[in-house]
């Protein structure tokens, strides 16, 4: 134990003697939090709209003003030529081209369904789907209005008799930043742990100081623990920092127990640090490590469910995520912070994380060779 303390002391001395790293350790998470949380959003506003109105009737204008009036759409272009509309779409100047053919106004209200055509730029498929969904929503309201205004012409369209009232649980106002903060907290802790710990280990190999350690009777586990502990502590401080920012700037509710969050993040950090140190035993240079680390982190993070729901991933990907520690912390953070889940609600995830942490650390100790 004393040996470990001496080694940990040495790590801290080195980390904070390096002025750049010493500052970046606390600066990077702050910047990450303040930039990523407001920037990364799937909410869509101001979808640019191009109208080809060949009808020019009060009905068509009514539809257009309704679209323009919604916060989703922004009425940017109007033209009478389909080819010009296509050019605008080609030039990425509009996302949605809405064509209202002649006769739209005459038909609506006369029992004949009015026809319009929507062309949507689907380079980004989720943008396209959302655009379509928003458009449908506006049209539904518009339809209902027509029916209400023309009670006599009730031909096919019945007024809906099931009135649905919905409530969004755990994030009533669908505030996007509330959803992102727990995720970004996970990312921030991942990056600090993974990269710094691994680089630190490989650096000792590169400059040869590890040789001097290997020739001492230090036990392998002692050395690995002394490489993990400082970054575990730093990671938890960064987490605290991130939580304070989330509370102050983004008013995230933090429904659950803060102690539980720290407990889970501790286990998570051990898993990530173990993995990083395991990887570092394969790398001979910092460059090699960075390459592998970057590759692994991208996979861990993109598959973690931070941007896309885990449930919609293919079955094999969900099985891969069983060993992805970031996927667990993502879920845990969101459940504890937004839902106020208790330790018994997430016990399965916690035990899985414990198993991952223990095995990664075990592999790191096992792979680390004092005698080649």
């Amino acid at each position: 134990m004393r040996t470990i303390l001496y080694l940990i002391r040495k790590e801290f001395l080195q980390i904070f003697r390096n002025k750049f790293i010493g500052r970046a350790i606390f600066g990077v998470p702050i910047i990450q939090m303040l930039i990523l949380v407001p920037a990364v959003t799937f909410e869509m506003k101001n979808i640019s709209l191009c109208i080809v109105d060949k009808d020019m009737t009060p009905e068509s204008r009514g539809l257009i003003s309704r679209l323009d009036g919604s916060t989703f759409f922004h009425y940017r272009y109007t033209t009478f030529s389909e080819s010009q509309a296509r050019q605008l779409m080609n030039a990425n100047k509009c996302t949605l081209v809405l064509e209202i053919p002649r006769g739209f106004g005459k038909d609506t209200g006369n029992g004949i369904p009015g026809r319009i055509m929507a062309s949507i730029n689907a380079i980004n498929s989720s943008t396209a789907q959302l655009t379509w969904a928003y458009l449908n929503g506006v049209l539904r309201d518009y339809n209902a209005d027509i029916i209400r205004q023309n009670p006599g012409s009730l031909s096919g369209q019945p007024v809906p008799i099931i009135q649905v009232t919905n409530r969004y649980w755990y994030n009533e106002k669908l505030v996007y930043s509330h959803y992102m903060v727990p995720g970004i907290l996970g990312i921030l802790v991942t990056a600090i742990g993974f990269i710094l710990a691994g680089l630190n280990m490989v650096r000792e190999k590169e400059i040869g100081t590890i040789e001097q350690i290997n020739v001492t009777p230090v036990r392998k586990y002692q050395f690995i623990i002394s490489k993990m502990a400082p970054f575990l502590i730093i990671g938890l401080i960064d987490l605290a920092l991130g939580m304070v920012l989330g509370k102050l700037f983004f008013k995230v509710p933090f429904e659950g127990s803060v102690a539980l969050l720290f407990l889970c993040s501790t286990i998570f950090l051990i898993a990530i640090l173990g993995f990083a140190l395991f990887i570092s035993t394969f790398a001979g240079t910092q460059q090699q490590f960075m390459f592998i680390a970057f590759f692994c982190m991208i996979i861990f993070i993109l598959m973690s469910g931070i941007f896309t729901p885990l449930e919609s991933m293919p079955g094999w990907a969900q099985r891969v995520d069983l060993v992805n520690p970031v996927a667990y912390i993502m879920r845990i953070n969101r459940m504890v912070i937004l839902k106020g889940s208790t330790i018994s609600d997430i016990s399965r995830d916690i035990w899985s994380l414990v198993a991952i942490a223990v095995s990664f650390t075990f592999f790191a100790v096992k792979r680390y060779r004092k005698t080649a």
């Binding site: 040495k10 001097q212 020739v215 004092k370």
Partner: protein, 243 residues
């Protein structure tokens, strides 16, 4: 020199793939002696030292250091040796005192003992003013002397010095050898590799390696006599340069 044997090597072979770095070495090193390990670059000296320190596993043969088998108990060997790398490997971003404390702590020395030895060491090297300076700011000669002192901080039975005086000025080299004598006088066996033939003359016994094999092993006097040479340098040239 009639001490007990502290290093005993018989039929040591170390291969890296098809390359034979150590080809059937057998020798003994006795307690308290200064054992010179000579050889051209790439002769396999560092490989041997790494095996004797438990850093590298022998391919075959028997190696016993301080009573422990290098293949089975390398970690026990490590408790009993000090090792000074060819490549300087103290922490450059720590101060002199921090490095000493770290290694003292690793070897399980008590806080008081560390403090005591630190003070002693700094005084002996007349380093007192340098205790709080970063290693990276020290001149090479000081660094080498410090590395040596740290290697024997825990009073090991054997200390390995791998080309400790490479690139060091003659005065520091001389001081370094005074330190080696002092260490050996305290009963610590010194196993030293060098390129400087004058240094070989200071050793109790000298072995000369060539292409992975030990081709000569004797006292400096004995070597000069049997090769009919006036200096070790001459002996070395006669051996290393094929006729």
């Amino acid at each position: 020199m009639t001490g007990q044997s502290v290093i005993s090597v018989s039929n040591l072979v170390k291969k890296f793939g098809s390359f034979v770095a150590n080809d059937n070495l057998s020798f003994e090193v006795y307690e308290g002696e200064i054992f010179g390990f000579l050889g051209a670059n790439g002769a396999g000296k560092t490989t041997t030292i790494r095996i004797l320190s438990g850093l590298s596993e022998p391919t075959s043969g028997k190696v016993v250091v301080a009573g422990f088998d290098a293949k089975k108990e390398p970690e026990k060997i490590k408790k009993n040796i000090g090792y000074m790398c060819q490549k300087f490997s103290l922490y450059e971003d720590l101060t002199v005192k921090e490095n000493i404390t770290l290694y003292g702590g690793i070897y399980g020395m008590s806080k008081n003992l560390i403090r005591e030895r630190t003070a002693m060491l700094l005084e002996k090297l007349s380093f007192q003013a340098w205790g709080d300076r970063l290693i990276s700011s020290l001149p090479l000669g000081f660094k080498q002397k410090l590395a040596f002192s740290i290697a024997i901080l825990h009073e090991p039975r054997i200390v390995y010095l791998d080309e400790p005086t490479g690139g060091v000025d003659p005065i520091t080299r001389r001081q370094f050898w005074e330190m080696i004598y002092e260490t050996a006088a305290r009963g610590i066996t010194v196993f030293v590799t060098t390129h400087y033939m004058d240094e070989a003359e200071y050793c109790d016994r000298v072995s000369i390696m060539n292409e992975g094999r030990i081709v000569a092993l004797d006292t400096p006097e004995g070597l000069k006599k049997s090769y009919n040479a006036s200096s070790i340098e001459e002996v070395f040239v006669k051996i290393a340069r094929p006729k």
